[in-house]
Amino acid sequence: MEELLRFRFRKVSLRKLSVKERREMKQGLAFISPWLIGFLAFTFLPMLATFVFTFLDMRITEGIFNPVRFVGLGNYKTLFQDMNIWRVPGVRINWTQPVVVNGETRQIFAPQVKMDPPGAMWVTIIFGLYALPVGIFLPLLLALLLNSRYLKGQAFFRSLFYMPYVIPFVASVFLWGGMLNPETGWINRFLMLLGVPKVALPQWANDVFWVYPTYVIMGIWGIGNAMLIMLAGLQNVPTELYDAAKVDGAGGWATFWKVTWPMISPVIFYNLILNVVGLFQYFLVPLVVNQGTGRPGGATYFYNLYLYKTFFLYQNMSYGATMAWALFVVILIVTIILFGTAKKWVYYASESA
């Protein structure tokens, strides 16, 4: 894992290769040539084609009757001016709602958020503020629990927490959709049994205030994999370090921050990168749960959803390709920034050695 995370571009001087090494390299290239050919034909060339599309006006359904036009940087100009992407969200919150109890009107705590439709990039960023901490720290928390020597039946709990991960994602989204249905879902029914008035019931995926927590809850079933990776990281921490910390009189909290955290920081970093990339590609849940409409109040019109619709619904290949390349650049920049920060907080034992 550590090796995978440590990207190093070594300069290989071909002149220094011996005859044997050259022969081996040729053989190696010959062996991977099927993959190389596949990569060129099915990945690299299509990527190149989409890059060319960004300079054209091409709507595929118009076919041969409307020839493709060269528009230069027109699509990029449209992209930077597209309010569907960049519009800054305006939010108004009413924290209380009136409710009649025994003929008397009372104000109860029931936040209602009104949002002016935000741009797709903002939607993605706002959701990230909810989803990333949960996506990183919840698997870590579960892994810490499963790694505890006081826990009985570790294997059982490990399987239990991992089990939802094997359920097809769309199926689990439908399932959660039923449970969180504001009208008939059992969670709201249960809240009503507890005496929560109807006006204060969460409207889950139908409410701007609740929709992101709803999506995060639905995503919790997918954290089994991250949890296992964290657990593997925890189990790789040398026990001598804990013994040394104990001898030094460190408590549980200090041990975690001074020993555990640094030692598993590469794993956390790895999960962070995956979560960030996943965040920018987030799309299936809003498509299934809110039918890809952006409801409520445009809060679920994620960038990738907009991209998908531009490509496959509106069949605007050129603008879709431009959006895809912009997404690629954004993910690249964010990833580079994260790698830059990694020097400050990610600890590689082999490096310090």
């Binding site: 071909l14 002149r15 290769l17 050259r22 040729k26 290239l29 040539s33 190389l36 050919i37 060129l40 034909a41 060339l45 595929i60 359904t61 118009e62 076919g63 041969i64 009757f65 409307n66 209602q112 009104k114 959709g177 039923g178 249905n181 504001p182 009208e183 008939t184 879902g185 109807k198 409207q203 139908n206 809110n290 039918q291 409409t293 952006g294 409801r295 409520p296 109040g297 619709k309 496959f312 619904l313 509106y314 069949q315």
Partner: protein, 484 residues
């Protein structure tokens, strides 16, 4: 070594290009290779070369119904019959799964390798490929084809700004589906079964059968868990167990259509967006039906819940009335298996103009404008909408457009739903096609439909919106979309 590497890289690039070149090369003639994407369901194998001396006509299926294995078998039989009937044309079937049909056809068209005939296809699929279809009018005139065999209204319904794009083949008129048992329990009379008849209220007064009357009785048919209807004191809107009405699988554009607004009414000659008054009326009626003081339509969450059939509310036995089309008979298995029965009433009128604005969904066949053999393609098309109807319509579950072909279909439906006393209200709905069609073309159609669909979704799910403000916002957005 560097040189060797360059050579190796060069070889790889050439090899990859060769690999790419190995794909079927598109040519503008219909004698070229078949679709680039192989069908997954009961694929039909199209020969790459036509039989000697014959013109090959490719028939593309996938934009609508026709991809189920049993349907493919019938279509193959039709192809066989046609090919056996004459010696000039060789008809080739090309079936592509529905999910990938639009992409496949887009690719074929973009590469100049479009099929000659496409169908069955409704207006949605037709308009997705706006500008690609051949105007049949010159061919009809040239060949003297007799269109009088069809209802003139249905022929006219196939005319768009691009010309006569098709001939009537299968039609799906609309009607009110209702559950007599629910009406009996509420002490209400049934909806009229004949256009022009009035509705008789329980006290004997007669009212015009319009959307206001529908709302009035729908409120009485909407029940909460305590059995109270929506007009009664103490009615709990949070525990609705039965609604009076559901616009079963109707897009906001369809709702507007039933009040008299077609797609062509949504923009002017300069592509400025307009929200026609009937559309505003329809949407206001719908919104108030969900969120008004006396609700009679399920909101989005309730309609989408498993208890209410996850959107198929009438099938779940949770709605007393639904306005929908003949094709909806496809999807009533749960309803029937639960021992429920439905009957049919006529469509209500717009209370503002007193007129019935029906909707007739229609599937037919189109000829691609880029075909090299328009005459031969037209000959095949007339065969499909003519002699082949008897085989094709039953397998598509479609009501044939020609009256003389309809009885076997109705017999089959009666066998499926023996409790239906008369299909006549549906058949009478054929006299009320939506001209201009609610599914007609509008600029940047797919994006516009998506935006209007999102508006419909908003109405169903958010009772706190200012509807007038949202309609204005919709107009502004459509204005931008239409002018893109």
């Amino acid at each position: 070594m560097k040189k060797t590497l360059f050579v190796l890289a060069g070889v790889l690039v050439v090899a990859s290009m060769l690999l790419a070149a190995c794909q079927p090369k598109p040519t503008p003639t219909p004698t070229a290779a078949p679709a680039t994407e192989a069908p997954t369901q009961a694929p039909t194998e199209a020969p790459t070369q036509p039989a000697a001396g014959k013109v090959q006509i490719r028939w593309f299926v996938g934009l609508g119904t026709g991809t189920n294995p049993d349907q493919v078998a019938v279509q193959e039989e039709v192809v066989k019959d046609f090919n056996a009937s004459q010696d000039k044309i060789e008809l080739v079937l090309e079936v592509v799964p529905y999910d990938s049909a639009r992409d496949t056809l887009s690719t074929e068209i973009a590469s100049g390798n479009g099929p000659d005939i496409v169908g069955p296809v409704g207006w949605g699929g037709t308009n997705f490929f706006y500008g690609q279809w051949l105007d049949l009018a010159p061919l009809i005139q040239e060949t003297g084809y007799d269109v009088s065999q069809f209802d003139p209204g249905l022929v006219k319904a196939q005319v768009t700004t691009e010309g006569q794009l098709g001939l009537p083949f299968a039609v799906f008129p609309a009607a009110v589906y209702y559950v007599p048992k629910m009406f009996d329990e509420a002490g209400l009379n049934y909806p009229p079964a004949k256009y022009g008849d009035k509705y008789v209220m329980p006290d004997g007064t007669e009212k015009p059968w319009d959307w206001n009357t529908v709302a009035e009785i729908a409120r009485l048919l909407t029940l909460d868990a305590n059995g109270k209807n929506a007009t009664e004191a103490g009615f709990d809107r949070n525990s609705i167990v039965q609604v009076g009405y559901v616009p079963q699988w109707q897009h906001a554009m369809h709702m507007a259509g039933f009040w008299g607004a077609g797609a062509a009414d949504f923009f002017d000659a300069d592509h400025n967006a307009i929200i026609p008054e009937p559309a505003k009326q329809a949407w206001t009626w719908y919104f108030n039906g969900i969120w008004g003081d006396q609700p009679f339509i399920a909101n989005g969450a309730l309609a989408g819940s498993p208890e209410f059939g996850a959107g198929n509310v009438f099938n779940a036995g949770k709605a007393a009335m639904a306005v929908t089309h003949f094709w909806y008979t496809c999807c009533l298995a749960d309803f029937k298996n639960a021992g429920n029965e439905f009957q049919l009433g006529v469509l209500p009128a717009n209370p503002n103009d007193g007129k019935v604005h029906g909707r007739v969904d229609a599937d037919t066949f189109r000829i691609w404008k880029g075909t090299q053999h328009p005459k031969e393609a037209f000959e095949v098309l007339t065969y499909l909408v003519g002699p082949a109807v008897k085989k094709l319509a039953p397998t598509y579950g479609a009501l044939p457009a020609r009256a003389e072909d309809q009885q076997p279909f109705l017999d089959a439906k009666s066998a499926d739903y023996p409790f239906v006393k008369s299909w006549q209200p549906l058949l009478d709905g054929l006299a009320y096609p939506d001209v201009p069609s609610a599914e007609g073309w509008m600029p940047n159609l797919n994006e516009a439909w998506n935006r209007i669909g999102a508006f419909g979704d908003l109405m169903a799910n958010d009772g706190t919106i200012d509807l007038a403000q949202e309609i204005e916002k919709l107009r502004q957005d459509l204005d931008v979309i239409f002018k893109k």
